[in-house]
Each structure stands twice: as C-alpha cells, then as structure tokens.
Symmetry: D2
Subunit: 248 residues, 4 copies
Amino acid sequence: MAAASNFYSIVAGVGAGTGRSVALKFAKAYPVALLARNPANYESIVKEINAAGGQAIGISTDVSSESSVKNAFTEIQKEFKGKKLAAAIFNVGGRFVRKPFLELTLEEYEAGYEANGKGFFLFAQATLPGLLESVPDSPHPPSLIITGATASLRGSATMSSFASGKFALRATGQSLAREFGPKGVHVAHAIIDGVIDIPRTRDWPVNGGVEDGKISSDAIADSYWYLHTQPRSHFTQELDVRPYVEKF
Amino acid sequence: MAAASNFYSIVAGVGAGTGRSVALKFAKAYPVALLARNPANYESIVKEINAAGGQAIGISTDVSSESSVKNAFTEIQKEFKGKKLAAAIFNVGGRFVRKPFLELTLEEYEAGYEANGKGFFLFAQATLPGLLESVPDSPHPPSLIITGATASLRGSATMSSFASGKFALRATGQSLAREFGPKGVHVAHAIIDGVIDIPRTRDWPVNGGVEDGKISSDAIADSYWYLHTQPRSHFTQELDVRPYVEKF
Amino acid sequence: MAAASNFYSIVAGVGAGTGRSVALKFAKAYPVALLARNPANYESIVKEINAAGGQAIGISTDVSSESSVKNAFTEIQKEFKGKKLAAAIFNVGGRFVRKPFLELTLEEYEAGYEANGKGFFLFAQATLPGLLESVPDSPHPPSLIITGATASLRGSATMSSFASGKFALRATGQSLAREFGPKGVHVAHAIIDGVIDIPRTRDWPVNGGVEDGKISSDAIADSYWYLHTQPRSHFTQELDVRPYVEKF
Amino acid sequence: MAAASNFYSIVAGVGAGTGRSVALKFAKAYPVALLARNPANYESIVKEINAAGGQAIGISTDVSSESSVKNAFTEIQKEFKGKKLAAAIFNVGGRFVRKPFLELTLEEYEAGYEANGKGFFLFAQATLPGLLESVPDSPHPPSLIITGATASLRGSATMSSFASGKFALRATGQSLAREFGPKGVHVAHAIIDGVIDIPRTRDWPVNGGVEDGKISSDAIADSYWYLHTQPRSHFTQELDVRPYVEKF
C-alpha cells in the first residue's frame, strides 16, 4: 500500500463489490475516504487498507442528505488536512425498486433519483472545488468517475425508478464533463452492463452459470484506475463493460 | 369544434405555445382538460375552445404536488363523468435554470426533476388507469404523449438541472412504453430540438432570424395528433423535430 | 386518385409491402414512378394506380448499377416532362443475408452495402437536384424519405451484411439532412422495427401470432405522407415504428 | 522490447500516428506484423522495433483487395510460424473525401466503405480464425480492436463518404462482438473524437492551439493495450476518447 501522498481520494458507495475493489485500488496511490450509509459496509475495508500500510477512513454518510454530506466533507477535510483531492468516485447504487408502474409509491419511484440524481449533485458539488484546485499539480488529471448501469441507456418495464435515476446521473455527468473537462477535470461515466460477482450474487443463475459470467469488481477497479490515469489529451467520457457471455 | 364525444383528453403544461396548439387540436375531437399552475395560462384557451363549440375546462394544478394532482383528477372525473380518457399529453416545461454547476442551489438543480421526473410520475399514475380502460373501445389507441427536448439526449455545460429532468422523463417514458405498449396504450416521446415560435421568443435571433427558423407549435400539435391516430400495429416511440435550418 | 399535378414522385424498392402502400398513397397526390429490379414487383401496382385514375409508370432498375439508374432517370424525365419532383422514397431492401460471419463470402457481405450504401448514393444523387429545384413552389417541402430497420441502430451476430448496409444508409441520410435541410429539402429516416404484414410473412409466428403483431404497410405509407407534409419549421429527421407488442 | 513470445499481433493501418504508437506498444509483448499500402509507412517503425530487441515485419497490403490481404496473411503465417495470434488492430483510415454531396463521384463516395467496410471484412475474416484458436491459452483474451471516429456516430454535411464507411465498420464490429464475444474473443471499438497529434497536424489550429488540444497517439496505444488486457468477465465494447478541450 501507498506511502504518504499529498493527495487523497474519495469513494462514495462502498460495499462488497465495486466500492471495495475501487477503494483497495486507489488506496495503493492515495489515502482514501470511504462513504456509505451503513458503517458495516466500510469498516472491514478500512481495516484492510490500514493494516496493509495504506490510509483509509470511513464516514457514515447518506449522500442524498445535504447535512450528512456536509458533515462528511468537514470530517474529510479535517482528516486529510493539507492534502488535495485527486479522485472522487461515485458508486452509489441506492435503493433498487422493481415493480409494475401502477404499484409504485411516489417514494419508491423517487428512490432512484434520490441516490443518483440528488445524491450525485451533492457529491459533485462537494468534490469539484477540490478537484479543480488539484488541476495544476495532481499526478494525473483530477477525476470524477461515475458508476452507471444498463438502465443508464434504456428504460425497462418495471424499472422506471432505477432508470430515471441513472438517466439523471448520466445527464449530470455529461453536463459536468462538458463544463469541467476544459478546466482539466476528467469526468467519466462507466456503463456496468451485467451482474457483479459478489457474495450476494454468487448463486444467481446469470448467463447459465458459466465461469466469468459475472463482472469481476477488481476489473472495474482497474478500469477506473485506467480512466484516472488517462492524460488530458485523451479523456474517455464513457465506456461500457460486460461479461463476454452477456447478451446486449 | 367537436360535438360531444364519449372520450376526453388532458393536456398538462399549457401556455402560449405547444400546450395551446395541442389543446386546440385535440379539442376538435374530444373535450379537453387543461392543467397549468397559473390560470392565466389556460383561461383564454378554455374560452376560445368553448366559444368555438368545443368543450374545455382549466384546472390550476402543480403537477409536482401529489395533492394538487389528486384534486385535479377528482375534478376532471366529476366534470367529464361518463367519459373515458383517450389521450393525455405531458407538456410540462418546469422552471428552467441555466447556471454554472457550482452556483446551483440544490433547489435549483432539482427544479428539472420536480417537473419532469416527479411531475410526470404523478401525471402518468393518474392517467394510465383511464387510458388502459379505454383500450377496448377508444377510436384510436389511447395515448400518453410526452414533450422532450434536445436536453433529453445530451447534457450540456450549465444545463444539468434541465437535462437531468428531461433524461429522467425519457427514462420513465421508455419504461412505460415497454410496460403499457403491449397492453394497447401508446406511449410516445417527442424530441423538440429548437426554439418554439411564440410571442416570448419572437425577437430571439434564432437561426439568423430566417423565416420558419423557429418551430411552429401548430405543427407540433399536428405531430401529436398524428401520433395519437397511429394504429397499434405501427406505434412510434420517439421522433425528433427541428426547423430546417437548425444545426444538429 | 389524383388529377394531373405539376409534381411527381418516385418510389424505389417496390414489392408487396411498404413500396406498394407508399406508391398508392403518394399517387393520390402526384404521378409516381416505381422502380424495382423485377417488373413483376411493380406491374400490378402500376395498373392499379392507373385504373383508379392516377398516373404511374414502372421502370426495371437496379439501384446499385450506375447505368441502370441513369437509364431510369432519363426515362422518368421523358415521361414526366414538365413536372417537378416533390418526393423521392428510398425503400430498397436488397439481398438479405444472415450467416455466421466466417461463412460469409465477400459478395454476400457486400450485398448489404450494394443496395443501401451504393444504391442509395446513386438514388440520392439522381433525385436531389430535382428536389432542390422544387423547393420554391412545391406544395410541401420536397422530401427524400428513407426506410431503415432495427439493424440501422445495432449490429447483431450473423447480421453484419445487412447492418453494415443499413448503418451506411443512415450515415448518408444524416449527412444529407444536415447538408440539404437548410436548403429546404426534407431528408427523413424511418426505423422500421418489426416484421411487415405482407403475404410472405402471413404465417410467420411473430409476436405470438397476435392480431396487429406485424406492421401494417399502409400505416408506414401514412407515416411517410405525414413526414412529406411537415412544414419546414418542423422537420422530423428520424422516427421509429413497431407493433405494440414488439419487444425493444 | 519483448523477448520471444508464442503469440504475435497484427496492426493494419500504420503511419505516423496511432498505428505507430500501437505497434510500439504491442511489440513490447508480442512480435508484430505491420500492414500498410505504402512501405514508407512502416519501414522505419519495423527498424525501430527490431533495433530495440523486439520483432516486427512489414507487409505492403491493400486491405480492400482480397488478393492483397490473402498474400499478406500467407506471409504472416510463414514468418510467425508456430506462433498464435493474440491481437489484431484495425486502424485503417482510408482515403478521406470531404465534398458537397452532389460533387462526389461514386468512386469518392465509396472510398469510405472500401477501407472501413470491405477492408475490415477482409481483415476480420483473416484474423478471427487465429484469434479463436488462441482463446484457450493466450495471456489475455484474444482481441480485435477497431479504430472509429466521430463520424462513426453521426453523419455531417460533406462527410457522407467517411461517415458511411465508419458507420459500416461500427455495425460490423458490433455484430462481431455479439457473435465472437461469447466464444472468448474481445471485439472492441474506440471512438477517436479529435485530431491526433502527429507531424502532419502539428500546425493545425485545433482547439485554439492549446497544449494537449490534440490526442496523443501514445495514449491511444495505452487504451488499446488496456482493452486487450481486460479479462473476459469485463469486456469493454466501446469507449470514446477526446482532448479535454474538445467540444462534443
């Protein structure tokens, strides 16, 4: 794990899959702050990183709450005083609701937007000033990396809650790429098109249960690191990923 | 204007442009309920339709308020008792905020979603049961027609509020098309790519000020009527429209 | 059928389905020239139109042959001397080859492009000068209308021949819309996403064999006529159509 | 440069920019065959690689000629006897023609397709059998990587030749990804959206002439190598790249 660095990173939305892998990956280069509502989602990862000689903190945060986000960033600035922000990863899933449209409550419909619309707005507003500040001297272009999904590109029957949130997230990500790219901040959006291989999905009969039929979260972390290290002459705004056997 | 019909229509988002033209167009076939927050936006249109022998009512409605939508539909059902719903048009613009991202308040960012996400959810939940009921005997497939914009397809610098709302609207529209199309309800989405020719935009120097460089709202109304009258063997889910001189 | 008109129309790719319906539709307003390789594909339609008081001619044409297209347009100009071109519809299917990629011959792969790339190039070059000439006085904006397919938007395993042709067609159509739209010519592209209901497909078990599970070619003709009659302030560049039960 | 490997790679379309950088990058891991019509385009690169301890051959090839491609692959198999194919990169630009549509000759229009449609077909048919053979034991999933452009996604006025070729290329790439992905071959398509920084473009006033306003071809090579090394649980089918200041 990394020795001290003048820069740090933030991962919002940490659990057993992508968030954990991304945290471990970025922790090799930068101290990392992990945000999740439930401390159980980050505690073991924080320990794992610190035990390996890296530096990590975890903060219980509800990204769709203004005050919670504010508190989190106050704490981050205190903990990482003197360091600058190199990378911010938004990997929030939010509550996933799948229901016939006429059975949705308003609150269920809005769950998608709460996390991916409002939550990303708050996260982006909290991280972009720091990313802009790092432009002159960060080792790689300061990066805001966003986790999208199949539902970022198409709505499906019974998926309007999730799709509306992921579409809103993509819209905002594109807007930020066009506004902050020319200022040197790299805003990238990944379409994760498939089931991620985590303990919870281990027994899902995805793609006929073939080997590698689910996405390796470590490979996602590699792709985010690759995005982060792209030079500013060659920014990827969007890429898709899926298992070799996935229908698309 | 139309004599009595056993069916009625609803237009949400009525003002000087598309909403007015659509109301006048659909009023030739069906009584029409016009929804707008500000009664000044529908009063003259209601008069115009009724004076011409059609039937129209206006209801002051905030589509992003559950109770306001509920009240509106209670009133519609009372006014149009015994009639069934043939067409519902969602033409809500919402508050348009254009600002550098870091200057947006949360409330400004959310303005896009309030109208086009939450507002459309409430409108669709209120109209789909009636549209489904009309499937067996309505003169044309019952239709839910949605007004999109350039920002439905791409985010732009300073446009994250509007784009996130219009993306969310499109996501939900696609989800509904896939869920309710097979039940016989036609859900269609129009990308309006250009400035609409209304009194407020008359002096905007759009497309060099050439004749027909702005979109005729009557032509939009014709396109919505065309969509409504498509047979179920031939549903258009999405179409774009723009002036002949518009860059795209 | 139409009395004499000062304008005429052309439909390339005439058979039992879309081409026939489009020819009958446009023949109500304009004399029409029908192009198909095999005269059996247009002879009965020509008779039907002329018997109904319209005016139609058929010309055996291979749109992917320069000399054949040249001959066809020489004959059209002779037959419709003094008239101007109001609408040109490109509805060529071409040879449809569906095979594992490694079993395709070069000639089979190129079949898609021959009809939809090269064929459309020759057709567009032959019709655009006439369409431009009609801009000042044609009853509706002179129109070049193109038949696309699901394969215009996505390649599929075993469909590279057809998809490469339809993608090339769409690319050229977009280029022409951007070049000739500002000059007053309406270039529109329709994505036909489903099986068309013609004698040959009658027994295909499409969409579970439900009523209206295949696309009515008359409805396609209506949509092309609708596109043709759009005013220049409101041009649709692309629309999709599919049966209400089609998965998409 | 690499010591001997049991695998080799092929780069079609080699010149001063992407092709050269990709060749140098892949030559670190595999012997590489460079294809270009003009030997001047590969000779110095072949020397550079061999001088650095790598292994490279160059073959004068016209990818749009069946016999030329056949000869090239016969020679490759002879030169790299006993080795298996790990990666094939299709980076052919072809003749770029930009003209008002009505001034294009058929031959000019077809130039786009010749290189990117027909040329890619011949290249893919020649390389896919070898890539399939390498699936069981290649160090990374055998890869077919394709260079696209802005014109792969949209047609522009005066660009129908190039756009129709690049659309056809993308269609075929998608078809192959869907057919050969499940067999373990990684087919990926890169949208290069910007001007590449090569001697010929050095003085082009792109993006106001700012530093890094053109794409580094070495960064493209890094991205192709990244694509090649993705595990099969996490294949990217498409990604875009552009300079941070590029409008999009």
